[in-house]
């Protein structure tokens, strides 16, 4: 653990933590505009979080310790995950930080405990949410692995830091195959953050909800932590896509200006991407649950195609 | 006259041939006769024919052993064994074996013709190297086929008594075969006959248990639960 890494920890994690809620609001705003509404304030998510933090926490008497530790574990796992995805600069990290597989499994931790907490209170909604989440995430898993394997294939490394160090050198994607991967990554963002057509983050209608169902029983600061974790997840997934597809601006060295530029570029690029997500969400209808595997297959197809192209060309 | 008659090889061989035919006829009777008493008589006749064959052979070959064998056969198979079976048969009070397995008498006769053919084909395959006199070869064929016909009797007849006679026929066949193909030491022959006697003794005694029409065995069957197996 060197100083550079310590600084990275503070800056990168802090930055992502800071900006994540913003993108949540931004997407909502874009969706609202498209639907002809005014939408919430851009900083609404921050207000929501603060309000939730101050509210009373109510636990179901049926629930157990799982419900109580899940928010902390969730946020912890995702904060750790932020270390894997550099957005401010690329540090000299200890071995293992930045490993794609560890990163993926940190997301699994979040999923695992969220699902457990969904089952914890014994409500039918929670169970339904966990069941759906675990099933669908299992089906998306090959796609994610193949997408990241495709990245690893193209860039010949399994470490995000090294990958981004390679891509950051160029302004356009290193290899045409990377743009194909980006499509899968985009779909993965949609799926992982529970957006239309997979899930509808704005609804509490039992037929459609997945993520919301599991956190129905959470309240107060616990809910705030979960929401925050969710926002962070969205940001880092976006960061991966951005660093793969449009890596320009990411600082490879630790310099003050570099960091500022990186942060700026990231904000701009991520805002654009968030807008894109909002537009995408608005332009597509929610899918029936059992049509989703087909949707995932598309992502799988793109990633597999990438590897196949690498194999045969 | 008699001595000249006995010295005439060709005539003797003809006689042996005629005896062969008689042996086959007895075998056919054994295959088809239903009456146990007459079966026994046929068997005794068959054994007597064997005695005659052995005696004729003695005249042809001059081996003392053949004469002794003829005597042995006469005593054991013509007299003792039929007598014994007769005694037992009267004890059981059955006189007829009416049922046939697999082969009816007419079919058995056809099959036994096939058996003679098979024996001939089989033996001709082996004895072409070792030149056996023609007579001897025919004897061997008759012996082998008689053995097979005896087996035919064993599996096609129901009663144990008949089966015993079938076995004895087989034994006669083997004896015939032995006479014509090889000359075994006489001690062995005696032992074989002793063995045969014990065997017949045992089987016929056991036949009381199976062929008996009395019901006492069935009663015991219920108190002992030994009988079992898949056929239940």
């Amino acid at each position: 653990m060197n100083a550079s890494f310590l600084l990275f920890t503070l800056l990168n994690t802090g930055f992502i933590l800071l900006v994540s809620p913003f993108f949540m609001s931004l997407i909502k705003k874009v969706k609202a505009y498209v639907q002809g509404r005014k939408g919430p304030k851009l900083l609404q998510s921050y207000f929501d979080l603060r309000k939730l933090m101050q509210k009373e926490v109510v636990y179901s008497p049926n629930s157990s310790i799982i419900m109580r530790i899940t928010p902390y574990l969730n946020l912890g796992a995702l904060l750790l995950a932020t270390l894997f995805v550099p957005v401010v600069f690329i540090p000299n990290a200890p071995a293992g930080i930045g490993n794609v597989i560890v990163f993926l499994y940190l997301l699994v931790i979040e999923r695992f405990f969220t699902s457990l907490s969904g089952l914890d209170s014994g409500s039918a909604f929670g169970g339904m949410g966990s069941s759906r989440l675990m099933s669908l995430s299992a089906v998306i898993e090959p796609t994610m692995i193949i997408a990241f394997a495709a990245l690893a294939y193209v860039l010949k490394t399994v470490n995000f830091h090294e990958m981004f160090a390679i891509t950051a050198g160029s302004t356009i994607p290193e290899s045409p195959t990377l743009s194909l991967i980006s499509i899968s990554l985009f779909i993965i963002i949609i799926v992982e953050t529970g957006r239309i057509p997979v899930d509808n983050p704005a609804t509490h209608l039992e037929l459609t909800m997945i993520n919301e169902a599991m956190i129905l029983e959470q309240s107060g600061k616990n809910l705030a932590l979960i929401e925050l974790a969710h926002a962070i997840k969205q940001t880092i997934l976006m960061a991966i896509l951005i660093n793969t597809l449009a890596p320009f601006g990411l600082a490879t060295e630790l310099t003050f200006t570099g960091i500022v530029i990186s942060c700026f570029y990231f904000l701009v690029k991520a805002s654009l991407l968030a807008g894109l997500i909002g537009l995408f969400e608005s332009s597509i209808a929610k899918m029936r649950l059992f049509r989703l595997p087909g949707f995932y297959m598309m992502a799988f197809f793109f990633s597999a195609l990438t590897i196949l192209m690498e194999v045969f060309i | 006259m008699i001595t000249s008659f006995l010295a005439d090889q060709a005539l003797l061989e003809d006689i042996v041939r005629i005896l062969f035919v008689f042996v086959l006829i007895t075998a056919a009777f054994i295959l088809s006769t239903r009456n146990i008493a007459s079966l026994l008589t046929v068997y005794a006749v068959q054994s007597f024919l064997l005695t005659l064959i052995a005696a004729s052979l003695y005249l042809i070959e001059g081996s003392e052993k053949l004469l002794a064998m003829a005597a042995l056969t006469l005593v054991s198979k013509v007299l003792l064994i039929p007598l014994f079976i007769n005694v037992i048969g009267e004890k059981i009070k059955i006189s007829r074996d009416l049922e046939f397995n697999y082969l009816e008498p007419t079919a058995s006769l056809l099959v036994s013709m096939g058996l003679i053919m098979l024996s001939y084909v089989f033996l001709s395959g082996f004895f072409d190297e070792y030149v056996l006199g023609k007579l001897f070869f025919v004897g061997a064929v008759i012996g082998l086929s008689l053995t097979l016909m005896g087996m035919l009797v064993i599996f096609s007849r129901k009663k144990v008594m008949t089966k015993v006679i079938g076995y004895l026929t087989m034994e006669n066949g083997v004896l015939l075969f032995g006479i014509f193909v090889a000359d075994l030491p006489f001690v062995i022959e005696i032992l074989i006959v002793i063995d045969l006697m014990i065997l017949v003794l045992l089987t016929t005694i056991l036949a009381i248990g199976l062929d008996s029409t009395k019901n006492e065995y069935h009663k015991r069957l219920q108190t002992l639960k030994i009988w079992s197996g898949r056929e239940e």
Binding site: - | Y130, V160, K163, Y167, V181, G209, Y217, L224, R230
Partner: protein, 492 residues
């Protein structure tokens, strides 16, 4: 000397038994008979220079193989006679055996031992044939002595099939005699003469005579398709007798086949005959295991298992390499002992439940724990599980068979799986049944444990001990003995 002493002892014992009064003394004399035979065998093994001719060069011959087989026979008869003491008493109490028949039983038992032993020491094949016939008759009498209808039926089957087939053997002997006569000038049926001049014998005639001899010997040892009498006879006989039927009498046929094969081995007919034997071995195993699979009668199961093992032994003989012979001989010993232990256990169970059927056996561990465990261990041993001797014998026989044919080995292995499954299925079904589940009519009359008579457990336990010891430790003298046999049969 040896043969004469066997004969003398056999005769003396017959007289002693004939003049004894109580069951106890009769049994004691029988046991003594077996022990003396055992002692003679051991003496012959240790002190006499063998191979040697006995009573001139005509009829008897002592070599290591005969001593080995004789010792196995004496050993098994010893255990059986100890076991019979209690077992026969129970039979009499249950009125299955009439007390008048008691003496006859022991007389035949004793005579059977003498006949079997002399069969092993016969040099002259005709003499061997006669003794083998005698053993058939005696053992059939032992089967029939319970005079229940199905016993008589079984005995009749045994006699007709075994003796009927033996007649074909006689034809084979006649062939052999002619054949040797052609070569040697005067015919001879002495094994020693034949094997000396084996290379001169015409392969074609040799094959014919072997095939005929095989018919009889195969019937004697329960080879398919001549095995049909065996399950009936072995399962209907009193268990003490079943043990020797399986453990000794089957060996006689195998002994004959082995002796004959050792002659054939030196002629050009070897290849054909070897395949012939292996084919019959495989068929026998197949038919036996398929019969075992759903067998509901314990003693039938054990009897079919004997058929299966005879198939393996035949296979071992048919392979014809020194190593395979070595292990086949060992297999014979292992099988005899193991099979005896199984029949002894089954006998105790039969006394307990008065039935051998699977659905009559229940509460075994509370009623007959020793027999139950004896049966379990015996089954493990018989299906060739280590650390029991059949395992290593099987392993090496198959190892040698592999050199001949891979599919054959594979087929045998799969068939042995079926055999194991048959035992497992039977034991699991029978031993897990408790009277609570058995139904209403059974629960009204709770079973009383049958008091196992004195001496019945001893043979069972000692055999289990012996096979365990044999499985873990292969004694040096046995190895020497078996090697000598292999050498004397001209394999090396």
């Amino acid at each position: 000397m040896i043969v004469l002493s066997y004969l003398a002892v056999g005769a003396i014992m017959l007289i002693l038994i004939a003049f004894s009064k109580s069951h106890r003394t009769i049994n004691a004399f029988t046991t003594l008979h077996t022990l003396v035979f055992l002692a003679i065998g051991l003496y012959a093994l240790l002190n006499t220079t063998v191979p040697a001719f006995e009573t001139g060069s005509e009829y008897f011959y002592v070599d290591h193989l005969s001593i080995y087989e004789g010792l196995i026979a004496a050993l098994l008869f010893f255990f059986a006679s100890v076991y019979a003491n209690g077992y026969v008493e129970s039979l009499i109490e249950a009125q299955e055996l009439h007390r008048n028949n008691l003496k006859i039983f022991y007389l035949i038992f004793s005579a059977l031992l003498t006949a079997a032993t002399l069969a092993f020491f016969s040099d002259n094949l005709t003499l061997f044939w006669i003794f083998a016939e005698l053993t058939t008759i005696f053992s059939a009498a032992l089967v029939a002595i319970l005079s229940a209808k199905e016993n008589i039926d079984a005995a009749i089957k045994y006699i007709f099939i075994a003796s009927g087939a033996m007649l074909f053997s006689f034809i084979g002997l006649t062939f052999l005699y002619t054949l040797s006569g052609e070569v040697l000038g005067s015919g001879s049926l002495n094994w020693t003469v034949l094997i000396e001049n084996a290379s001169l014998l015409s392969p074609k005639m040799m094959t014919a005579s072997f095939v005929f001899l095989f018919i009889g010997f195969a019937a004697k040892s329960g080879i398919f398709p001549f095995h049909t009498w065996l399950p009936d006879a072995h399962s209907k006989a009193p268990s003490a007798v079943s043990a020797i039927l399986s453990g000794v009498l089957l060996n006689i046929g195998m002994y004959g086949i082995l002796r004959m094969y050792s002659i054939v081995r030196q002629t050009q007919a070897e290849h054909l005959i070897s395949q012939f034997l292996m084919g019959f071995g495989l068929l026998t195993i197949a038919v036996a295991v398929l019969n075992m699979l759903w067998q509901n009668n314990l003693k039938m199961l054990i009897a079919f298992s004997s058929v299966e093992h005879m198939g393996v032994i035949l296979l071992g003989i048919g392979i014809g390499t020194p190593l395979s012979l070595f292990w086949t001989l060992y297999y014979v010993l292992a099988h005899s002992l193991t099979k005896a232990s199984l029949f002894f256990s089954a006998g105790i169970l039969h006394r307990q439940y008065e039935s051998n059927l699977i659905h009559d056996i229940r509460d075994i561990f509370s009623l007959q724990p020793v027999a139950g465990w004896g049966l379990i261990i015996g089954s493990f041993a018989i299906i060739g599980m280590p650390p029991f001797p059949i395992f290593s014998a099987k392993l090496f026989i198959l190892l040698e068979a592999f050199g001949f044919s891979k599919p054959l080995v594979f087929a045998v292995l799969l068939l042995l799986v079926i055999a194991s499954a048959a035992f497992a299925r039977f034991l699991i079904e029978a031993f897990t049944r408790s009277s609570k589940e058995a139904g209403i009519e059974d629960s009204e009359t709770p079973l009383l444990p049958y008091v196992v008579k004195r001496g019945m457990k001893f043979p069972l336990l000692s055999i289990i001990f012996i096979i365990l010891a044999l499985g873990v430790f292969f004694p040096e003298f046995l190895e020497t003995l078996l090697n000598k046999i292999v050498y004397e049969l001209g394999y090396l």
